[in-house]
Amino acid sequence: MEPIIRVVHLNKQFRGKDMEVQALSDVSLDINKGDIYGIIGMSGAGKSTLVRCLNFLERPTDGSVYVEGKDLASLTEKQLREERKNIGMIFQHFNLLMQRSVIDNVCFPMEIAGMKRAEARKKALDYLKIVGLEEKAQAYPAQLSGGQKQRVAIARVLASDPKILLCDEATSALDPQTTKSILQLLKEINQKYGITIVVITHEMAVVQEICSHVAIIDKGHLVEHGTVEEIFQAPKSREARKLIYQGCEKVAEMKGRRCVRIVFSENSSFEPVIGNMVLAFKTPVNILYANTRDLDGVAKGEMILQLPEDTIVADKMIAYLQSAKLAVEELKDYV
């Protein structure tokens, strides 16, 4: 299947007065139709620039972006504007028109498309219903909470009937609970309307909550990409590990040196692996961290164990865990 978005050897430089900033270096990426694709990185990593290259709000210095097979660089200004109607975008700060009522905000893309006012209003109400805000149609953005504003922005994006939705840190200005509800809404939109969603974020939790795929970007380079499950289970790059272990707080007062991180998949969580292992080796291990996360509907348990000082026992334990079909990974310098 042809990917809906294909990024090929993308480079972007910003030219300042007396210096050049390489925002993106040789980024290549395929996003398939129906994916919820996370692009995660620390601030300044270049992820916002990358997402702006996907609808050519920023023109890449080098490389190509294909959307549904069309090379965006080959389009005229007018064709590009037409293409952008297929690529909706929502923002961290919502970017609503403050002098227009909620319903008029939702009508805006339909106005641009030249739709009759009465028809646009009728459709706008339907879109507001989808995001659960039809009773706020006559309100103004200044009267809404952050979460409500983002819902209006989502309704506005739906009004242009896009195939792709780009989310630029769309939940970063929201509290955790509101974030959850907005992510839920995005998931619904993805499933109901088959809209491909690209999520830019600096939070692993957002990726885990809704994404099917993830790309990790660091200092303008794409360091790792794949399904969320793959990356979560066996992160290869240092940057990926750093992001995944974000939540794992270190515990003080530890004597052992060797630690492993293990990941349970659904079938392995029935067997009391750790308990059996302790019984088998008659040596205790220390559980430093344990958590279950919901990865795209599948419960994944993860645990960080501190192994005994005896290296022979420790090695055997690792082998034991691997034989129990768990993903095992040794952590260097964790404690």
Binding site: N55, L57, K78, R81, E82, E83, R84, K85, I87, G88, M89, F91, H93, N95, L96, L97, M98, Q99, R100, S101, F108, P109, E111, I112, A113, Y140, A142, Q143, A153, R156, S160, L166
Partner: protein, 220 residues
């Protein structure tokens, strides 16, 4: 001395002053508003950056704004004569007043439009909006409060200029103030005209503020 003739003269003066204020302000916007829009759009961070166009308009508007109004008025006498047919009187004053107002308005429009959050412009671009749509439906509407406030400032400034023009052959309250207060040394009439000028500015300011508040939807 407060006979009918003086009262009649003051009423006519008010009319002439308003005429010399409102017509040049309006005409000033006809020329200045598009220039202000072009300045915003062609600026480096604008939606259609164009260094050459920006530089030219920027330069011309700065030159006209730096010339003191009285000197501009004198410099423009040939042009005024060519357009109106004479260089004195209230109608003739419309020419230099408009030319003084336009670049000033261009600058104020530019600063109002630049207050509009860049993110909102970006959102409109991401929806496929073209330059014209962004100018008319995003920039001008989102900045309307600031535009109205600035229009109030422009009107008060042009009222001041028109009073100045009164000193060199135009009519209006300024001319009356100069004629009675300075030439004939009748300070009471001068004071009355000054008080009326102050009141006019107050009224304009009041209307402007009321309108800008009425059209602002950003309040909770």
């Amino acid at each position: 001395m407060w006979d009918e003739k003086v009262i009649q003269m003051i009423i006519e003066g008010i009319g002439e002053s308003l005429y010399m204020t409102l017509v040049p302000t309006l005409l000033g916007y006809v020329f200045g508003m598009p220039l202000g829009i072009v300045l915003t759009v062609t600026d480096q961070d604008g939606i259609r950056p164009n260094r050459a166009v920006y530089r030219v308009i920027d330069f011309i508007s700065n030159i006209f704004r730096s010339i003191p109004f009285l000197i501009l008025l004198i410099l423009l006498i040939p042009l005024t004569k060519a357009i109106v047919g004479k260089s004195y009187g209230s109608t003739a004053m419309i020419v230099p007043l408009t030319i003084a107002a336009a670049p000033y308005i261009a600058r104020l429009v530019e600063s109002s439009l630049k207050e509009v959050d860049h993110g909102v412009v970006e959102a409109a671009q991401s929806m496929g909006a073209g330059t014209w749509t962004i100018v008319t439906r995003v920039l001008l509407t989102e900045a309307r409060t600031s535009l109205i406030v600035n229009a109030t400032i422009v009107t008060a400034t042009i009222l001041g200029y028109s009073a100045m023009a009164g000193a060199v052959g135009a009519g209006g309250l300024g001319a009356i103030a100069v004629r009675y207060g300075y030439n004939r040394y009748q300070p009471d009439i001068m004071i009355v005209t000054v008080v009326i000028l102050v009141l006019l500015v107050q009224i304009m300011q009041g209307i402007g503020m009321m309108l800008s508040r009425k059209f602002d939807r950003r309040r909770t």
